[in-house]
């Protein structure tokens, strides 16, 4: 009993704030009809789920690494674009796979390069210089080889080949696949060999750079764990096979139908995020751990670079990503009245209390959000690495002192966080539409959600995202039906600009009451 009273007293501010928020929600629900608020709550769940995917990665990264990853919004957007590519243009995806595998192949043999680089001794200036020469050479080789490899792609400048047109055709059910490009001049063997050679050179020079930096030590024997050679063989074979069976593979993957393609797209987006995340962490963020403010600036720079890169490849105009068949059916029984109807006819909407609920937006996305929430929660609470992450959030130095390689966990967490952002982007593609600006608004949402929930708290990210979603959707709904305020004769209709403004206001008020956010850790 006393402990309960103590708990109440300790969290007085939190409880008062929470009850005020609950009261506000109840008031908001009171003002509209039942069907309206059910739909509004479902919609806010959808917004909350996407926000949560970005925000939770952000909070994990910030909690453990102390890096404010402001590129998270851009990575979210990149996820959407990657998913679009796999979903609408699987042929391009297949085409890209081969050079990508060959590029990776060189890096799977890193121990070998390390060994070779350590044996390269001679004049000091030569040892210092050769990696740069190697890098330059690798750049040249790759520039020519990658250019010569035929990749069927779109052309944002020409209307009939722009991403928007391909999306439109996919929406009507016919998947427009342009004829595959072929090798113009130069043989396939030469080009593929060139890519492989460039990749080897690149990995070798990077190993040499690393060796120079860490006061080169000569290794006596080569230790190449078998896993590395197997990985090399696997990557190489996948690349080669995809190259050899390019056309049949394309027809097969197109024949899979949009539902499977969609799930493949989501998976590829997730993997892209994980890869990008580990790459960014290990090359750009890691040198800057001693200079915290610069990490923030580098993520800012990255986000600018990312947006421009996407603009250069996919073009500036917005386009849509059609929903997959399973969420886009229009059978006789649609809109479905029961859940069974959804599974039978793949209806796009459910009729619930005379209002339509979109299956993809309002049921599928929150469901994925919930699964990710539970998954990450289990990872944090039940596994060894989760334990290390939680300990690291509390006290990083102590974990390091206990002899745990925190740096490796850093890379893992960064990759995980970015992966969740790209997953969110892939999911949001069909519901939000794809544009280069989609990351910006979502980053703001995620930041607000985090600040509300407490910056380093994982459950806080979920609570904050939920609050942001609810706030936005209720304001939007009240913008349609109007709200009866005490001293006004006419119902007040909040205008669209008030939507983001209201969440910002919520954040400022909550931060003023509780500077560490709702569930933030006290220091």
């Amino acid at each position: 009993m006393t402990s309960f009273v103590l708990y109440l007293r300790k969290n007085r501010t939190l409880l008062i704030t929470a009850s005020v928020l609950l009261l506000l929600l109840l008031l908001a629900i009171q003002g509209m009809e039942t069907q309206d608020w059910v739909v509004t709550v479902l919609r806010s769940l959808s917004v909350a789920a996407v926000t949560f995917l970005v925000a939770s990665g952000f909070s994990l990264i910030f909690g453990l690494l102390d890096v404010l990853n402001l590129a998270q919004g851009t990575l979210f957007m990149i996820g959407a674009y990657v998913a679009w590519t796999v979903y609408i243009r699987p042929d391009t995806f297949i085409d890209i796979l081969t050079p990508f595998c060959f590029l990776i192949a060189g890096f799977t043999l890193l121990p070998l390069w390390d060994f070779l680089a350590s044996r390269l001794t001679g004049k000091k200036i030569l040892v210092r210089l050769w990696p740069w020469v190697g890098l330059l050479l690798a750049g040249f080789v790759l520039l020519f080889a990658l250019r010569a490899y035929p990749i069927t792609i779109w052309n944002p400048g020409v209307y009939s080949q722009s991403p928007g047109t391909y999306s439109l055709f996919a929406d009507t059910g016919t998947r427009l696949i342009p004829p595959a490009e072929t090798f113009g001049d130069g043989s396939a063997v030469l080009v593929l060999g060139g890519i492989l050679l460039g990749s080897f050179l690149l990995a070798f020079s990077l190993a040499g750079l690393q060796n120079n930096r860490n006061a080169a030590r000569v290794r006596k024997s080569l230790r190449l764990p078998w896993a590395y050679s197997v990985a090399f063989l696997a990557v190489f074979l996948v690349g080669l096979l995809v190259h050899l069976f390019n056309t049949p593979l394309t027809t097969a993957i197109v024949g899979l139908g949009s539902t499977w393609l969609f799930f493949i797209a989501i998976l590829v987006a997730l993997l892209t995020g994980v890869l990008l995340g580990s790459l960014i962490e290990s090359t750009l963020i890691r040198p800057l751990y001693s200079r915290p403010i610069y990490q923030l600036m580098i993520t800012l720079g990255l986000s600018a670079v990312g947006i421009e890169l996407v603009r250069a490849i996919w073009g500036r105009p917005e386009f849509t990503m059609p929903k997959p068949e399973i969420f886009n059916g229009a059978g006789v029984n649609c809109p479905a009245t029961t859940l069974a109807g959804v599974f039978q006819d793949h209806c796009s909407t459910i009729l619930f209390m005379d209002s339509r609920i979109r299956v993809y937006n309002e049921i599928f996305i929150p469901l994925v959000g919930l699964i990710v929430l539970i998954g990450i929660w289990l990872l944090l609470q039940r596994t060894r690495i989760g334990m290390i992450i939680r300990a690291g959030v509390q006290d990083r130095e102590m974990v390091e002192a206990l002899g745990i390689n925190v740096r490796r966990v850093f890379t893992f967490v960064f990759a995980l966080g970015v992966g969740m952002a790209t997953l969110g982007g892939a999911l949001a593609g069909p519901s939000m539409g794809i544009s280069t600006a989609m990351g910006e608004s979502l980053l703001l949402n995620a930041l607000i959600a985090l600040a509300i929930g407490g910056l380093t708290s994982f459950p806080g990210a979920a609570v904050g995202s939920l609050l942001v979603g609810l706030m936005q959707q209720f304001i939007i709904k009240y913008g349609q039906i109007g709200i009866q305020l005490p001293f006004l004769a006419e119902p007040f209709k909040p205008t669209p600009p008030l939507v983001p403004a209201s969440t910002v206001l919520l954040m400022v008020i909550i931060l003023l009451v509780m500077p560490r956010g709702l569930l933030g850790r006290k220091e």
Binding site: F62, L68, L284, P287, L288, R291, I293, Y294, L296, M297, I298, L300, G301, L302, A304, V305, E308, L309, A312, E440, L444, L447, I448, L450, A451, L455, T495, P497, P500, A501, V504, L505, M507, V508, L511, L512, P515, R516
Partner: protein, 363 residues
């Protein structure tokens, strides 16, 4: 010290040492004053032609320089907050945009005189600094950055809203600001140039004095260790408020000049991107060096201009890459690195001079 007791000779020696100590600064000021004339000489334009405000190379260069001066004022104010006081604010663009929009709206829609407008901008700048400072005692570090980002983004949204479009022009921006005739940048480019230059120099000197004053020293102490400053009995809130107010006034003035110079105020000046530009400029020059902000602004604008000219659309991408490279490889900025290396560079110079003149100097 008694002023009257300084003898003329002592005074002149003091003046000399003051002059010598800031030789680089004097040279830069002289170069900036002479810049329009030199460019007109290079492009073969006569001086009378230049004074009559004929269009040409000189006028264009003046325009570019004016933009740099305005950006430098803006970057300077950001450096005071971030580099000197150590407050990470993500809402700095709002300081600038409030000045710009207020000037534009008051001059265009309300027909106020320039002086009344300036007074209003000053008042608005102080008010918004207080608005930012309200949250200061509660939130620190990253949370302060987020709150300022929030406040600034509300402003950004409001300025772009349709309700304000009659005044602020929604997402197209405020167009056709009517600048008073005597300072019209199109007709009296040279006058505008020297007004901006004078203001920049004045502000820079003021900032230098501020940083070296007891108040400024406390601001530096806050950056280094706020808890210790509190322990020593300073009410850090007031010092932060002073720094914020000074920065806000400077940025609003820069915005005001921006609105007068370009008769257009685009909503971009209120966006997050413009805050990042300020960050970038201070970073290029060196955080906390003040003079770094000026150098950074010059490099930023010239780089942007040059890259846009050469590469067109891809300029932003390249700027981002340059930015990342600077963060990775030039961590203290140009002026910061220069200050760190100054001793080495000086001894290197002396060795070089010794080699040339054949008189090796003993270290």
């Amino acid at each position: 010290m008694n002023q009257a007791s300084i003898s003329p000779s002592k005074f002149s020696s003091r003046f000399k040492s003051f002059f010598r100590g800031n030789l680089g600064g004097w040279i830069v000021i002289l170069a900036m004053v002479l810049l329009p004339f030199i460019t007109s000489l290079i492009s073969g334009q006569s001086i009378s032609n230049l004074l009559a405000n004929e269009s040409g190379m000189a006028k264009f260069v003046q325009g570019l320089a004016i933009e740099i001066f305005i950006l430098a004022l803006y970057a300077l104010s950001y450096d005071l907050i971030l580099g000197v006081t150590g407050l990470l604010s993500f809402g700095h663009a709002m300081f600038f945009a409030v000045g710009a929009y207020l000037t534009g709206i008051l001059l265009k829609s309300f027909g106020w005189s320039l002086w009344a407008t300036l007074g209003m901008v000053l008042v608005a700048a102080i008010i918004q600094a207080i608005l930012f400072a309200v949250v200061l005692p509660r939130v620190q570090g990253v949370t302060f950055a987020l709150v300022t980002l929030g406040i600034a983004s509300v402003f950004y949204i409001v300025i772009q809203s349709h309700e304000m479009s009659a005044y602020a022009g929604a997402d197209v921006g405020l167009q056709g600001v009517v600048a008073p005739e005597f300072i019209n940048a199109a007709d009296h480019r040279m006058r505008f140039y020297f007004v901006t230059l004078g203001l920049l120099i004045g502000m820079y000197l003021l900032y230098k004095r501020f940083v070296n004053s007891p108040t400024g020293r406390v601001c530096i102490a806050i950056r280094e260790n706020e808890k210790r400053a509190l322990m020593l009995g300073y009410n850090t809130f007031y010092f932060k408020l002073i720094a914020l107010t000074l920065a806000s006034i400077t940025a609003a003035l820069a915005g005001c000049l921006h609105a007068l110079f370009q008769p257009i105020v685009s909503p971009h000046t209120a966006s997050m991107g413009f805050t990042i530009a300020a960050l970038l400029m201070t970073l290029i020059g060196g955080v906390g060096t003040l003079s770094g902000a000026l150098v950074g602004a010059a490099i930023y604008r010239l780089l942007e201009y040059g890259l846009k000219n050469i590469f067109g659309e891809q300029a932003t991408f390249l700027l981002g890459v340059v930015y990342v490279l600077i963060v990775l490889f030039l961590p203290y900025g140009i002026i910061g690195t220069w200050k760190l290396r100054a001793l080495q560079i000086r001894s290197g110079w002396q060795r070089l001079i010794g080699l040339v003149t054949g008189k090796p100097k003993q270290a």
